[in-house]
Symmetry: C2
Subunit: 824 residues, 2 copies
């Protein structure tokens, strides 16, 4: 309520310029295109109009020519307020933003006048935001009815609106009052979440049947319940919406909630249910314990949905709904990644072709063409010149050597690391030869497609903390090496701006809900081996603000804790600056029996009887090996662990009790059974209580290694401390790559191990907690834009295939009801 608060408010929020007369031209790159002559004419007209009592002028500095300045009569003022020159000229500079000068002028006005300003008529001209606010103030105190449909101009360029109100009295206090109300609207709002009732059936129906039986709340209702403003939401149909990142500014001073990571023990090939635990846990916290909570999930690739895996929206009574929208298209983020990734790929091959078939001069003439007699570098070309150490900006001033350096990326075809991607399980694209049409003049080369979620752009989406950060990372992506050995980036190709444009909406997390009507963010889903396998930093950050200080954000890391959790801590938390309070470690009796020495478990084959009948010694074996080791790994990072035993119907009471008991003796803060699959949130209440309890414990988070540690040492640290290896061993190729990366200045990037998830070691068949092995590093690669180095331990397939009878055989659409069948 003080003037100081007003200053902060006005400085921070360009929308608040609610006073009297603001004539504004929106900032834009190319100011010389604005027709200033028309502005002048308009100004003269306004100045000569006896009904207009003042003009606030708000233009980029570059536009304030003497002609524009001359058009305004400095004597013009507001009736009855002789000492206030309403014709005051406010100079705004495009480079510094418009807000401070206008805010300053408003404060001047507020400060100088104790008496109410009498204004007979008011001119309002400006962008939509300020207009709406100004209008609101005026309506409030004048009672004049205004047709808001007139308020549709975004800038002066095309339209000038003149609105006259008679007999207005503008009081300073009204303005302050109005601003205060606005501030209140912007503040954190407590949740008023209405959960959806769940009446679980026995036996549990199929996932899609359960999903369809529940009608989700309209997403705008959900958004309102959790305190989002309508303007922060972009609906995509009725059940999902993108949330704008401006939320982070609005709730800037709001404390974060508790941050909970769900990780797992080393899984069987069937998966042990981390996603269902994540969803069950938030259903329990929000719908049953009435604690604000948010689940942050990865968006699954569409490929496996039609292949063998099926959907990834949870399962049973712990699901995100509608599950078919979660699993198919969603809000198009992965499609955007596919488009962006492949635009870079097309740019690479096309550029190599053009360089191979044109002289330096021809290339230069085409890359920097004369348009209307003028020849200029585009901003992205200036960036390349800077990197080449050329500070010139005049195209004609480049020497032939400089021209050659500029036009030739000189990519080495055998050293292009950028692959194309598709969100389809298309194994025949793993290795292909491109350029075989005669139009490509024999420039053939071998390359391949990855599944879209393996694109570096996906990893970048998951790690960016703002649009600017994402744009920078995209520009730095290294696509290959020049013949002279230098890295070639997306920015060198001139394509990174366009890539950022394609990704502009994808950066906003998508809001959905669980079966019990509690909120979920779905955002990003990078591979968990060649990338870090975690959902986005931005979704976590938005959710932490929304739940408030006492709330919970539950986020999931891919694969076992040795992989997903380690990368969550060392890569994601490093990028985000966030610190987790608790790790939930998901285990199943099935996986524990396997680690305790049970026979092989494989997809498609029936489960051996050891897994169906009670077998306490196998369970104990698994607990004392893999579970214990995974708990210890979490403790390396100083974070308390709650073990969540995902109960199957074949598990016996004795088995369940044994797991919980041993887990606690191995250092877990608590260990509880979970029944979310068959019961929803109610089946996860014990876990919710245990997590709530554990957040009260001190968490002394620390990274496993400092980034300055040499690459070799960072790898060794992970191999020994996390995997339990004696040491690691570099192939000659890996060694030379490390030298190269050090030389290129990538030595201080964190490490993202590409290792099998089926064992703590590199050998998928070694269960339990193997020791005494040497971890072999076959090769090392870098995702420079995403910001990590990834050593390859073994061969990672980055393009799945289709089995003889893919899931799609059962997937169908009823053309009358529009219902989907066969998704699971």
């Amino acid at each position: 309520r003080t003037k100081a608060a007003m200053v902060t408010l006005l400085r921070r929020n360009p929308e608040i310029q609610p006073l009297l007369a603001i004539l504004q031209v929106k900032r834009q790159k190319d100011t010389c295109r604005i027709n200033y002559f028309d502005i002048c004419k308009e100004l003269l007209k306004l100045n000569n109009d006896p009904k207009v009592h003042g003009v606030y002028l708000h233009l980029p500095a570059a536009s304030l020519t003497s002609r524009v300045l001359g058009a305004l009569n400095p004597e013009k003022d507001v009736d009855g307020t002789t000492d206030l020159n309403m014709g005051r000229l406010v100079r705004g500079d495009a480079s510094e933003g418009f807000v401070p000068p206008v805010a300053g002028a408003v404060l001047d006005l507020l400060g100088k006048h104790d008496a109410p300003l009498k204004v007979k008529s008011v001119l309002l001209v400006g962008g939509e935001g300020p207009l709406r606010l100004a209008l609101q103030c005026l309506i409030e105190r004048s009672g004049v009815e205004v047709n808001t449909s007139h308020w549709n101009s975004k800038s002066l360029q095309t339209q000038v609106h003149l609105h006259l109100f008679s007999n207005l009295t503008v009081k300073e206090s009204n303005v302050i009052h109005s601003c205060n109300r606005w501030i209140q609207n912007q503040q954190y709002r407590p949740w008023r979440l209405r959960s959806l009732k769940l009446l679980p059936l026995t036996p549990v129906p199929s996932d899609i049947e359960i999903s369809r039986a529940q009608t989700p709340k309209p997403v705008d209702q959900l958004a309102e319940e959790i305190g989002l403003l309508p303007e922060e939401l972009e609906a995509y149909g009725r059940n999902k919406a993108k949330v704008q990142l401006s939320l982070l500014d609005r709730l800037h001073s709001q404390p974060d909630g508790n941050y909970v990571l769900v990780a797992g023990i080393t899984p069987t090939p069937l998966g042990e249910g981390k996603s269902t635990v994540t969803i069950g846990l938030v259903q329990a916290l929000s719908a049953h314990l009435k604690l604000n909570s948010f689940a942050c999930l990865r968006q699954p690739s569409q490929g496996p949905t039609f292949g063998v895996k099926g959907g990834a929206a949870g399962g049973g009574y712990a699901q995100v709904i509608p599950m078919e929208e979660f699993n198919l298209h969603l809000t198009g983020d992965i499609h955007a990644i596919t488009a962006a990734n492949n635009l870079v790929a097309a740019a690479i091959d096309a550029r190599m072709l053009h360089e191979a078939t044109q002289s330096d001069k021809a290339l230069f003439n085409r890359l920097v063409p004369t348009v209307n007699g003028v020849r200029t570098f585009s901003p992205i070309q200036i960036s390349r010149l800077r990197r080449l150490g050329i500070s010139k900006t005049e195209p004609t001033s480049l020497t032939p050597q400089e021209v050659s350096a500029f036009v030739r990326l000189d990519l080495d075809p055998s050293k292009i690391t950028w692959q194309r991607v598709l969100d389809t399980n298309d194994r025949f694209l793993r290795k292909i030869t491109v350029g075989q049409a005669s139009t490509e003049k024999g420039q053939i080369r071998e390359t391949g497609f990855d599944i879209a979620v393996a694109s570096e752009i996906m990893a970048i989406l998951a790690l960016s903390d703002s649009l600017k950060d994402m744009k920078d990372r995209l520009a730095h992506m290294v696509v290959g090496t020049s013949r002279s050995g230098g890295p070639v980036t997306a920015e060198d190709l001139g394509v990174s701006g366009a890539v950022a444009v394609l990704m502009k909406d994808a950066i906003k997390p998508t809001l959905m809900q669980t079966l019990e009507g509690t909120p979920v963010f779905v955002h990003a889903g990078p591979f968990a081996n060649i990338a870090h396998g975690n959902s986005s930093v931005l979704a976590d950050k938005l959710a932490l603000k929304l739940v408030g200080r006492d709330g919970f954000v539950v986020t999931e890391a891919g694969f076992g804790a040795d992989i997903g959790m380690e990368k969550f801590f060392n890569i994601k938390c490093r990028a985000s600056g966030l610190r987790p309070n608790v790790v939930v470690l998901v285990a199943t009796v099935r996986a524990l029996k396997m680690h305790g020495g049970g026979p092989n478990v494989s997809a498609g084959a029936p489960l051996p009887r050891e897994y169906i009948n009670e077998n306490l010694s196998l369970v104990a074996g698994g607990c004392h090996s893999n579970l214990k080791k995974q708990i210890q790994i979490a403790h390396l990072f100083g974070v308390p662990v709650v073990v969540a035993l995902n109960v199957f119907k074949t598990d016996t009471r004795a088995e369940i009790d044994l797991v919980c008991q041993i887990a606690k003796t191995c250092g877990a803060s608590d260990a509880v059974p979970c029944h979310h699959w068959s019961q929803g949130g109610r089946g996860c209440l014990e876990l919710a209580q245990a997590v709530k309890e554990a957040t009260r414990r001190p968490s002394n988070f620390q990274f496993l290694y400092p980034t300055e540690m040499p690459i070799v040492e960072k790898i060794r640290t992970i191999a020994q401390k996390v995997y339990g290896a004696n040491d690691m061993e570099l192939s000659p190729e890996a060694k030379s790559k490390i030298d190269y990366y050090n030389q290129q200045g990538y030595g201080s990037l964190p490490i993202c191990m590409a290792k099998t998830h089926l064992s703590l070691s590199h050998m998928a068949d070694k269960k339990g907690a193997p020791t005494g092995f040497i971890l072999p590093i076959r090769d090392i690669r870098a995702s420079v834009g995403a910001g990590f180095i990834y050593p390859l331990v073994g061969t990672m397939s980055t393009m799945p295939g289709l089995p003889t009878r893919p899931c799609f055989y059962d997937i169908d659409l009823d053309p009358d009801t529009e219902e989907i069948t066969g998704l699971f």
Copy 2:
């Protein structure tokens, strides 16, 4: 208001089942999955509850086992209405829909009881639609306050809701009143369009600057203005929304508006502005003449947006806004096509691999696996068996020969016609070799990628008139030929149901608006040579209902009238059953001069001076050749023509007058200059008046050929009558293809010529109206799902490339304002 109207109403609208008690299980394919035991238990509970006074049961016929029937007490009835058995069992059959039986029961109830029904308590169970309506009736007459958040059940499968209201009196008249109100809500609503003001600047700024300077109306506001119901809209952000096809049912009896096709003369390589004329015309009709009008446009490929062409949302002051959303991603339809097309491609190669490496028995065991001891064919497999002439449904009863025929598609790798697609200009994918990884066991083959809009699925999207129609067409797509010569379809691959699922949202047209706030549908954008180059049938149909009898729908056909318009009439109108009233033929002085003998015009090179200075003889030459011929082509179909001269600033008064004068002597109903690019709708007023006038003329539409005509004759008819050829000539390959297609039963499909758009002939450099040539047919292909045969005249590139300096060099994103620069 009569009972007859009620009958119609209830028959048509499944949502109206607003009476008392309806217990409904949603129809579904796999009825055996419903847990009937639970339904029985629920029924017994209801029957024994003294507070429940009646049950309407609404189940698929298959579910009415004696156990279910027995659970209901036939004596149970409603207090005070002894002759009404509320326990009456209504049998619904999934195959006939649920509506008639329930509607009948409701009518019974209405007919039998003059006295008000006294109901102490009411059970409401059912789908969301009926519940909402029933609830509304009840609230209205009872005054009971009901918390609608309880009404969240979609079906009985998982939940049964029991809601009790005391002391209700249900009056028949109330029900009728309520239904009448509902009917009124469903009826056609006159438009209340508020146009956006446009104040054009001189010189005309860039397209993106103009687009950004105008704030679009919120799309839900636009939708309300043009009479859409909120439930018919699915917003995608603030500026675009998908419109549900149920609108066609709701406005079934509403007469269609006038149907206007915009076509063009043979263009220069720079394009002559058909899209801007289309948009300018609707801006003039709606915003200035206050006549309801809709533009139906194609969605452009994203590839060329980053290549050479730039955007396709119109230009200058005739644009769809926001133009960046129009040009990028839109609502994801093309991404859905990419995903669907490539799933088919992956299925083809994976299937060939599996067939090559497995015995019949192994294939059969995998394709028809034993699940929980049971072995069944999926519905899509039953379809394949039927096509093979096998009527068995029991997997174990197939003979080894039948098993072999069933499991082996036996695709001939050299005769696969299905290509992969990407929405990227990636020339290096034109011809590639796939399957080179060792995992594919040497099954390499040559294939290629097309641009996504060249996919047959895009052509299908554009021609389908319902979800069912689309699904059927997708199933019939031929992907290649078996070694024995038979066609192999997407359904044979088992993938067509999944493809329909991927396309389920894409089938709904996207609503956007012009710069003047008038409505636009953007939907589908098939290639104009290998496909028919027109926007969707569904968008046109929806728009024709929405504009109402006196309104106008303006739709655009790709390329010159000889291609786009001919295909619009012979293919699109045949599929839709719609008949156009007027053709608007777009011409430019530039193109006319070229046809009159002016020098070459090519992209990138400066225009020769003939095109900048007045030259009446070149103009006259073009009018008397190409323009005249294109008018005659439209007259072949019996439709009146208005010539729209898209005026450039270099055109002189004399040139403009000359074109208009000659056009009228050549048979045009009218010919007028258009200034929409610089003035918006106001610049197109003359055209709007001329079009309005022309719709009053009789249109005697007729097809150019009957489909039963032999393929050869159909091609000859187009070559001679439309192109002006003496005759056509078939290559041996084309001849044998025709024999093959006749033999396969595709002989009566319409013809879709793949010809250059730069000349009426097959020779791009022959301008004007060439005669005396023989049209060579190099090859013939078929899009069986889309439903046409396409003869190839010359080589068509279906994958564009990137130039040395693609558009993307200028495209950038301001990370602070989120504004895009450099799109044009």
